[in-house]
């Protein structure tokens, strides 16, 4: 087993998505033991840490950039990391979160918080980040180094890409997954 110094520091984040990509990542099952000696998971929904640590080697982003907080997070993660992966169709293309874009924010709010609300009709502003005009793919906010398509990407595809990366190779994910997979 390699020690911490030789492990790559990995952060994951779940922004505007359904967590399905993280689920698919966990679906690599016992193969996670093959990755474990090479990876230190230091930040993400699976790690109880509030602040994003410095000196990340790899960041895996699930979800589209849809609000102020998402944008803030990806900017900070990008600044602190060497390599960024957009994991899944929401991160790569906007996917389902971007379906609100053609409708417009005003009509979406109207539908969600007035038409479909029986009581307390109001647009929430306290304690929630402001929505961006459009939900956008991650690479339209920050530079992304690798794109893994799929909704969610199959566990096999995630395992393949991560195994290649820890082996020092940059794979072509379109060989193992596609949009809508």
């Amino acid at each position: 087993m390699s020690d911490t110094a030789t492990k790559i520091k990995v952060a994951t984040i779940w922004i505007d998505g359904c967590s399905g990509c993280h689920m698919s990542f966990l679906d690599i099952d016992e193969r996670i033991l093959e990755l474990a000696p090479h990876i230190d998971m230091v930040y993400g929904p699976l790690v109880d840490l509030k602040e994003i640590p410095e000196g990340l080697d790899l960041v895996i982003v699930e979800g589209a950039v849809a609000n102020d907080a998402d944008l803030h997070h990806v900017l900070e993660l990008r600044k602190k990391s060497k390599f960024m992966i957009a994991l899944g169709d929401c991160a790569v293309s906007g996917n389902v979160p971007s379906m609100r874009n053609p409708i417009g924010q005003k009509d979406c709010f109207e539908r969600a918080y007035f038409e479909n609300a029986d009581t307390g009709q109001q647009i929430p502003t306290n304690g929630v980040p402001a929505l961006l005009k459009n939900a956008i793919p991650v690479h339209q906010a920050v530079k992304v180094d690798l794109f893994i398509q799929g909704c969610p990407p199959p566990a096999d595809a995630i395992f393949f890409v991560l195994s290649e990366l820890v082996a020092g190779r940059v794979p072509d994910p379109t060989k193992v997954t596609r949009f809508g997979a």
Binding site: A86, D89, V92, S93, G94, N95, V96, S98, M99, N101, P102, I103, N134, I136, P137, H139, Q140, V144, F147, Q149, C151, D172, P173, T174, R178, F179, G180
Partner: protein, 239 residues
């Protein structure tokens, strides 16, 4: 007196092949199991040449040419793939994906879509252009079928099959450039069309989830195209 059709010899990807001079590079390539990706082209319908996915390089010609519209000639040297062609195909796909709202994961044609398959085949892993997120109608007025303009790539297969095979000419293109869109009759809802015969040929030839059968859920729409070579053969149509 009928024109004499000559047989010509040409080279496609370093392979010497023969074809008739009234056959396109695409036809001859496919006869020899040389793969050229296509989108607007469909065997059995007239050529259209609008999508440019099948662009190939012909030595001595300064620009790339669509294989589906370029006839063979004696001594022609064709290359079906190089770095420039790969980059063009990716760009074309990025333009198509950014132009309308193609959300594969929730599309009835997910897994059976030619646009989706092309993206994977051509290694189009993301769209570097800003998405337009346009607002398009979904026409569900027809009893059996649906037209979701969000998924349309303007290949015009529906227009051609309805005109050339069914003979009804329900479909046409309206407007120009980025505003171009498919209309039924004189821009009436499909369900109100007086010319539509409800045959569904347009649905079956549509490469994406734009024209679909009603009652299909995500990934349930599989197109059946066996009628096209069959009808052409029965009618004695060639090419």
């Amino acid at each position: 007196m009928s024109k004499v059709i000559r047989v010509v010899t040409l080279t496609i990807d370093d392979q010497e092949v023969t074809g008739r001079e009234d056959e396109t590079i695409l036809t001859v390539a496919r006869q020899h199991d040389i793969d050229i990706p296509t989108l607007c082209f469909l065997e059995g319908l007239s050529g259209w040449g609008s999508c440019r996915i099948c662009l190939v390089a012909v030595e001595g010609v300064p620009k790339l040419l669509p294989a589906c519209m370029t006839y063979c000639s004696e001594g022609m040297v064709v290359h079906t793939e190089n770095e420039q062609i790969k980059a063009y195909r990716k760009s074309i796909l990025e333009l198509l994906f950014s132009e309308r709202n193609h959300i594969c994961s929730v599309c009835v044609s997910n897994g059976a879509c030619e646009l989706q398959a092309l993206a994977q085949k051509c290694g189009m892993d993301h769209v570097s252009l800003p998405y337009r997120f346009p607002s398009y109608e979904v026409d569900s007025s027809h009893n059996l079928f649906r037209n979701d303009h969000n998924r349309c790539v303007l290949c015009t297969r529906c227009i051609r099959v309805c005109d050339e095979i069914e003979g009804a000419h329900v479909w046409d293109l309206a407007d120009r450039g980025i505003n171009a869109h498919v209309i039924s009759d004189l821009n009436a809802p499909w369900g109100d069309s007086e010319t539509c015969t409800n045959c569904g040929k347009c649905v079956q030839v549509c490469p994406t989830g734009a024209l679909v059968q009603k009652g299909t859920a995500v990934a349930e729409m599989h197109k059946r195209r066996a009628f096209l070579p069959y009808l052409n053969a029965m009618r004695g149509n060639h090419g």
